[in-house]
């Protein structure tokens, strides 16, 4: 079996606060293969963005990676010195954030920023880098790239800016792209264009993509596999078709039913009572147990570990007693 591009094992991230240490990520594990898009979905406070940030080594104090390991094509990167990590970021891992303006310097022409990034990571002449930048802008769908390359970020619309950021993220041909809510700030019609762009990149370049978003629809459109996060843990992970159509974890089930769809009828939405616990008050046992309609005694004391069920994996005690078909 080939090595996954990204392999995260038992990741733990903690934040020191005046009220003690808060564990934002508690034992998260997943792999992303070459050319695969893994969607990481969850509601606010689930820890999905923190997971993305720890992969690119951007957890700032008071936060820190407290345990587990992150490997990029076999190389352990969670304990690299900041200087080496900086070289890996941009070269081997590309980043796309929600707000394109956090990645673009408003004072520089976008062309200069792309050329600079290319030349930092690849051994190219100024002219060659500029030609490459134009190619990249064309690839992400910016019309008249040879003219637009000399524009400043404020001269681009939100969707176009996000395309520039994507061009910036892929300019050094990274193995992995971390996209954190890349379409959240965009209008629906523009979002659709960005989604298909990200999808195409994974396919054409064989880039592994970790797509962090709260929007299950975006995941369903884009991802091959999906990890559903809840309170700093992965509740369920599996092929996107399976998780969307046949979710196993009670939280995933509730989440799928809670989303209004265009095709759905007018029936009441499934409603999960309560809301995600704060980090300072994560319940004992399964963190979902106070909101779970199926919780039993064991859920209140023992934390469920991920159990394989076919192609899916689910962290829920409900599936422990029943023998699984594939495990036999």
């Amino acid at each position: 079996m080939t090595e996954p591009v990204l392999s995260v094992r038992n990741l733990q991230v903690e934040f020191a606060s005046r009220r003690g240490t808060l564990r934002a990520i508690d034992g998260v594990s997943f792999d992303i293969a070459k050319g695969e898009v893994l969607g990481v979905v969850g509601e606010s406070g689930a820890g999905k963005s923190v997971t993305g940030l720890s992969v690119i080594g951007l957890i700032d104090p008071p936060g820190r990676i407290a345990g587990g390991e992150i490997r990029l094509s076999g190389l352990r990167i969670d304990n690299l010195p900041p200087e080496e990590m900086r070289r890996i970021r941009g070269k081997r891992i590309g980043m796309i954030f929600q707000d394109p303006l956090t990645s673009l310097n408003p004072l520089y022409r976008i062309g200069d920023q792309i050329v600079e990034t290319i030349r930092t990571h690849l051994n190219l002449s100024e002219q060659a880098a500029r030609r490459r930048a134009i190619e990249l802008l064309a690839e992400v769908g910016i019309p008249a790239p040879e003219k637009r390359i000399d524009g400043y970020p404020h001269e681009f619309s939100g969707g176009m800016r996000q395309r520039v950021v994507i061009a910036l993220a892929i300019c050094a041909e990274p193995e992995l792209i971390i996209a954190d809510e890349p379409t959240t700030a965009l209008d629906v019609s523009v979002q659709a264009q960005i989604i298909s762009l990200i999808k195409r990149l994974g396919r054409d370049h064989g880039t592994a993509v970790m797509l962090v978003t709260h929007d299950m629809g975006v995941i369903a459109e884009t991802s091959d596999r999906v990890a559903v996060m809840y309170a700093g843990r992965v509740a369920e992970i599996g092929p996107v078709q399976d998780v969307v159509k046949n979710p196993l974890h009670p939280y995933a089930k509730g989440l799928m039913g809670a989303i209004p769809t265009l095709a759905g009828d007018d029936k009441r939405l499934v409603q999960i009572p309560g809301s995600m616990p704060r980090l300072s008050a994560i319940p004992r046992g399964c963190s979902f147990n106070p909101r779970c309609a199926f919780a039993f005694d064991r859920c209140r004391v023992e934390r469920p570990e991920p159990l394989p069920r076919g192609a899916q994996s689910v962290a829920c005690h409900l599936y422990d007693s029943v023998p699984t078909e594939s495990a036999a």
Partner: protein, 329 residues
Amino acid sequence: MSAPFVQVRNLRRVFDVSKPWLNRVLEGGHLEYLKAVDSVTFDIRKGETFALVGESGSGKTTVARMVVGLLPPSSGNVLIDGVSMTDPRQAPARRRLRRRIQMIFQDPYASLNPRFRVDAIIAEPIRAFDLIQGERDIQARVGELLSLVGLHPDDRLKYPHEFSGGQRQRIAIARALASDAEFIVCDEPTSALDVSVQAQILNLMRDLQDKFGLTYMFISHNLAVVRHMASRVGVMYLGRIVEIAEGRELFARPRMPYTKMLLGAVPDLAMSGRQRVPVKGDIPNPIDPPPGCAFNPRCPLAFDLCRKETPELIDGVACHAVNTAPVPA
């Protein structure tokens, strides 16, 4: 048949977005206007949910603010239960009407005064309209309203920052109900919330509608949410309503090319592989919209007329390609 509960006629709002006078004089440049809303006309029947859907810059929030009277229209009129929201001669009637109109806002972190305790927030409309006398009765009513929206009566003694986003939105709904409002304008009430919380709030809003016969005007950019909530839908693009139809009809058989494109752009959770209209282009700058139909640069059906003349809303669609009957062969 009686007149519709809410009648909006030819509503128009222009914002002056010019530079300050001194800068104009010194640096040149001229007056610039942003036509945020133009020729918007629709009715809302009692007890229904009318939704306005559109992307950013479509003017849907501006329409909402004009309907409730927070923003004076540049021209046009809004009649609610026969009372004009603009006519100065009807000011006394409008004052009586106010109690019956309420609004729920998008950001539950900004719509509750952080310095007020929950009881003060919810009791404010009760006191402003002098609906209940006596502190004890007011507090009892506040507790009752809180239970109605799924919170505990004792929550009235807390401050907004002690609640989650969804709980705050419940408080905002309780405030809207405090004056026994009949017509509630909801401006993106769930777009700041997580999906599971959004489901709670949408369900709550529908339950309250059933219980009290509320009339909703629902503003959203989320088509799936609109599909779930609305009995009738108006689609807005750059300040105009481009299509208006019964909810089921609009989603089953969109007519205007923009509506088709918008529906096609919604990420599809069901992964049904349905036919889609590919999306092209960006929303134009509303200060300098394209001539004719504002959608023409992105429209697959655009022809000469579309670039010259703004289409009227005829039979629920504002589109030359749809309204100009094909020449019989």
